[in-house]
């Protein structure tokens, strides 16, 4: 190395430092002194970023009937740092609040942020907004933000539609899209389709002078972004049917779910008692919400998806299907029944004996189904009993029981088809057999289903072996293609076996318990259920589809603590089917009786 010459490189390095410094100083000189365009005028102008809230997407039913729309409201916003001395008394009078409230509100806003806007008084009336706007210049730091609230022209489908509410701090921290005071879907479709419905917020930058007056848009709106409206949703729901169902179910606890079998489109989805969705909108929401959640009949609970019931006799066809598929019975197999003297499971009444599967479904014979079930578990030809049970359970689950169906609504419960492991845990491995878990043969015991699952199983019967994941949204805006989100699921039971049980279900409504409630001009296939319930009177259940040959509707009705399935659930389902297929109900006497009955 040649130290002398290298040492001189120090100067070059210093020269580089100094050169960069000069370039930067020159640039700063240009930015700060020469170029005035970056300078905001000397009287301390401030830009105000006003959020442009997009209108939330509207919601229509399957026939284009409007279910949910928007109404404008005005929030008074505050930026605490900008608040100057003001005539508090006058300000409070304009707003109709007390001075104490004023101080509280301001303190709350300060707590959120000194520099960021937060709502001071929410949803002020249009009149108040009118007065305020003229005097706004006296109140620096305050401005009015327009937002929209939901409105429901006909109060129906509250559980299904869900509601929107102010976003909580937790969500604000997690998702930068939301700011304090924004609205967000909290339940139902409003939540599961939040991102589609909400649209995209825009920003308008306005110049504000020292008197809090807006002096125009900043740089002619060059940096503004337009709000993009949320997409409209078209539901699969038939509003007329939904409304009719809510009418039939008034005064009763329970649920009705109807599905178009071929497509999985949910036609009606209701939980009773319900509530008027308009109650959970705007300023009254907090008060009403508390009231509703304290109501002992739990109107906020979405029973259609979160209520779990023993299916009772409506589950018998499922057992028959597994028996047929496993080859332990044929359509010709007959079993005897000793009526009320049968063991280990008694029959509810005396009827012909021995009887085949068709008659057994029609008569809802307990001993027949116990024998099918026992044979399935003991003689299906697998290595041991436990394997047979696992196979039985897999068959059942393939028809949509015991797991979430994956619908497009949130908070769905999965019901329960107990696993072999669970019984191992209860009774000890190898220490339980068909006898131990005999209640499952007639849909009692550890089995639980949701009304949605029961309706879906009616769809499986209607389709003779498959279902499409049930869903409530048909189209988003103009887009009718929902992708492969709602798949066709084929059960593990062969199609010909379904023909057998469907014939049995047809006989239920033509010759059996259902013959009193036949739908005019329509052949319905169905099955009643009277589910024992440890908490009180039996639940009344019915599942059905119609017409028998070309089904357009599959339905499940559950009326809690109402007794026999044939007394309440069956007539309600029958009326629903008549309403949907004939569009006109002729059995007005029956209709009147159902509507006016109060069961709780």
């Amino acid at each position: 190395m040649a130290p002398k010459s290298l040492a001189s490189r120090k100067l070059i390095i210093i020269a580089i430092f100094v050169a960069v410094a000069f370039v930067y100083i020159g640039r700063l000189f240009y930015l700060q002194i020469i170029d005035g365009s970056y300078k905001l005028s000397a009287d301390n102008n401030v830009l105000r970023f006003v959020t442009q809230y997009p209108a939330r997407g509207l919601i229509y039913d399957r026939n284009g009937k409007l279910l949910v729309y928007n109404e404008a409201v005005y929030d008074l916003m505050v930026v605490p740092r900008l608040v100057k001395e003001l005539d508090t008394a006058e300000f409070c009078r304009l707003l109709g609040i007390t001075v104490v409230q004023y101080k509280e509100n301001l303190q709350k806003a300060k707590k959120y942020s000194y520099y960021k806007p937060s709502p001071f008084e929410k949803q002020i009336s249009k009149e108040t907004y009118g007065y305020l706007e003229e005097k706004m210049f006296r109140y620096p730091g305050f401005y009015v933000q327009k937002r929209t609230l939901r409105k429901y022209p006909t109060p129906l489908g509250a559980h299904l539609l869900g509601y929107i509410g102010e976003v909580n701090q937790n969500t604000i921290d997690k998702d930068p899209y939301y700011k304090s005071g924004d609205y967000i879907g909290i339940s139902g479709i409003e939540k599961s389709y939040e991102e589609v419905l909400r649209g995209t917020k825009g920003i308008e930058i306005r110049m504000v002078d020292v008197h809090n007056r807006e002096v125009g848009s900043y740089k002619d709106g060059l940096y503004d972004t337009l709000a993009v409206m949320g997409s409209d949703l078209y539901l699969t729901i038939d509003a007329e049917l939904q409304e009719y169902g809510e009418k039939l179910m008034q005064g009763k606890m329970g649920s009705v779910v109807a599905i178009e079998p071929a497509t999985g489109e949910i036609l009606a989805f209701l939980s009773s008692p319900g509530y008027d969705p308009n109650l959970l909108v705007g300023r009254v929401r907090g008060k009403n919400f508390t009231e509703l959640s304290n109501d002992p009949v739990k109107p906020l609970l979405n029973r259609a998806m979160m209520g779990q019931y023993p299916p009772g006799s409506t589950f018998k066809m499922v057992n028959d299907l597994v028996g047929l598929q496993e080859g332990v019975i044929t359509p010709l197999t007959r079993f005897t029944c000793q009526g009320t003297g049968s063991s280990p499971i008694r029959c509810t009444h005396s009827h012909q004996t021995p009887l085949d599967v068709y008659a057994a479904i029609q008569q809802s014979c307990n001993p027949f189904h116990w024998q099918v079930y026992r044979n399935t578990l003991n003689n299906a030809g697998r290595k041991n009993f436990r394997d047979n049970y696992v196979a039985w359970r897999n068959h059942v689950m393939s028809m949509g029981f015991g797991h979430k169906l994956g619908t497009d609504m949130l908070f769905e419960l999965s019901g329960s088809i107990p696993s072999a492991d669970k019984f191992d845990a209860i009774y000890g491995a190898g220490r339980w057999n068909a006898m131990t878990v005999r209640s499952l043969s007639i849909g009692q015991g550890e089995i639980l289903v949701t009304p949605l699952q029961l309706a879906n199983s009616a769809a499986v019967m209607a389709n003779r072996g498959f279902y499409v994941v049930p869903h409530v949204v048909k189209a988003i805006g103009d887009n009718h293609d929902m992708g492969d989100k709602f798949q066709k699921i084929t059960s593990s039971i062969a199609k010909e076996h379904f023909e057998v049980v469907v014939e049995g279900m047809r006989q239920v409504t033509t010759m059996g318990t259902g013959r009193r409630y036949q739908v005019p001009d329509v052949v319905m296939c169905g099955k009643t259920g009277t589910a024992e319930n440890p908490h009180g009177k039996d639940h009344s259940l019915f599942m059905a589809f119609a017409p028998a040959d070309k089904p357009v509707i599959a339905i499940a009705v559950i009326v809690e603590n109402a007794g026999f399935g044939a007394t309440w659930a069956l007539p309600i389902a029958s009326l629903m089917i008549e309403k949907y297929i004939n569009r006109e109900v002729t059995r007005t006497e029956l209709e009147e009786r159902m509507i006016t009955s109060k069961l709780y």
Binding site: R9, K10, R27, Q32, Y38, L222
Partner: protein, 420 residues
């Protein structure tokens, strides 16, 4: 022993120490202004950035004191060990680190976050200095050329894997150190040319650049000494240049990620993306520009509050300087930095040991790179690359790391008369 202790602080360059303190305190004042909140006026309010930064400053001073009390030989003896530990921590952070604004480069330790990439700078500087201070160094030797590249490349690569491009680019600054140690000046020249060709390709397209290069080559050919060697070199350079122009466009279109591409386009003025990448820079320029000649005064900035400028207290802290202290304030800060840098270079040059000298140049280069890129970014001259402004930006890791970086040099310098 007593004499040594007495001399311990004697040889310290107090000018550097005072400059350091001035810069750190100015930085703190600006962080205070950037996040100023009337509800939390206490400077030690630990819920606020400035409260925490005060804690970092005090602890940094303690770290500085510890370094000054350490035997200077420690740093050269343990240079490789420190480097090795840092590399290990860079690897560890890739698996157990937490992600902050897109970069997986933080250790979360009981509420405090530590960024090993910050500490890798001085560790690498120590290792490079140690390598060049060994006896058998020969610039022509392959090993001498190869090992520094590995020493620099390893941390840079690991930091790149953390998705922290800015901190990885810092290692480019060592070209100045290598230049001082004998690397041909052509490399610096080539670097400048590469930047010029790259920028002009992006601005006017590769075709124009190729025409320009050919014309330049033709002119050179006309005036140079036409020896066989020169002609071959010229043709080779021309072909390289053309190839480079093509590859720049290819990289821009196919390799860079969308946001990087946008940042570059915004800088070149080809894109006006004021809602996305251009937003920061635009707001930053408004803030600085609105400061005018003498600024709006301490705590009176409007643009730098209200969160107009994102990353206000970290990467864009210079906006607060520009807005509240104006052109005068910015001038003072830039001048202080340059004086600081020149002083370090001068001190480095007076070192007798190669280790200390190399280390000193490394300190100057690293600080200069941060200074140039950070301020350049806020005034729209450099693409937005998230690296802190030394001593100013909010953040414990970076303040600690810069303090260690500088004070090791101050210690080495104080020890310059000792032989080791």
């Amino acid at each position: 022993m007593a004499r040594e202790r007495e001399n311990l602080f004697n040889n310290i360059d107090w000018t550097l120490v005072i400059l350091y303190l001035v810069l750190v305190l100015m930085g703190w004042l600006n962080i205070y202004a950037a996040v100023y909140n009337e509800d939390h006026k206490s400077i030690l309010d630990l819920s606020q950035s400035y409260g925490k930064q005060m804690l970092w400053i005090v602890s940094s001073l303690f770290v500085a004191l510890v370094i000054l009390l350490t035997d200077a030989r420690f740093f050269s003896i343990f240079a490789y060990a420190i480097y090795g530990l840092t590399i290990l921590s860079l690897i560890a952070v890739l698996s157990v680190g937490s992600v902050v604004s897109g970069s997986k480069s933080w250790f979360d330790i009981g509420g405090f976050r530590l960024q090993p990439a910050e500490f890798a700078k001085f560790a690498t500087n120590l290792a490079i200095a140690r390598f060049f201070s060994t006896q058998n160094i020969n610039v022509k030797d392959f090993k001498t050329r190869f090992i520094p590249l590995v020493l620099l490349g390893l941390p840079a690569l690991l930091i790149l894997l953390q998705n922290d491009t800015g901190s990885a680019l810092v290692y480019m600054s060592f070209v100045l150190v290598l230049y001082r140690m004998g690397l041909s000046g052509n490399f610096l020249l080539a670097g400048v040319l590469i930047v010029v060709v790259a920028l002009s390709t992006l601005m006017v397209g590769h075709l124009n650049v190729i025409i320009g290069l050919t014309v330049a080559a033709g002119l050179l050919f006309a005036f140079m000494k036409r020896s066989r060697k020169n002609i071959i070199n010229l043709v080779a350079l021309l072909l390289l240049g053309i190839g480079f122009a093509f590859s720049v466009e290819y990289v821009m279109d196919n390799v860079l990620i969308e946001h990087q591409r946008t940042r570059i386009n915004v800088l070149l003025g080809k894109e006006l993306d004021l809602k996305g990448a251009g937003y920061n820079v635009h707001q930053s320029k408004i803030a600085i520009g609105s400061g005018g000649f003498s600024g709006k005064g301490f705590l009176n900035g409007t643009q730098t509050k209200y969160n107009f400028v994102p990353e206000q207290s970290t990467d864009f802290i210079f906006c607060t300087v520009g807005e509240e202290w104006g052109f005068l304030g910015a001038l003072v800060v830039i001048t202080l930095f340059i004086v600081f840098l020149i002083r370090i270079v001068n001190n480095a040059e007076r070192q007798r040991s190669t280790f200390s000298k190399m280390y000193g140049y490394g300190v100057a280069s690293i600080l200069f790179f941060h200074f140039a890129v950070n301020i350049g970014m806020t005034i729209g001259l450099v693409p937005v690359i998230g690296i802190p402004l030394p001593f100013f930006s909010y953040g414990g890791s970076s303040l600690w790391a810069f303090t260690i970086l500088v004070f090791i040099f101050i210690k080495l310098d104080a020890n310059r008369n000792a032989l080791f």
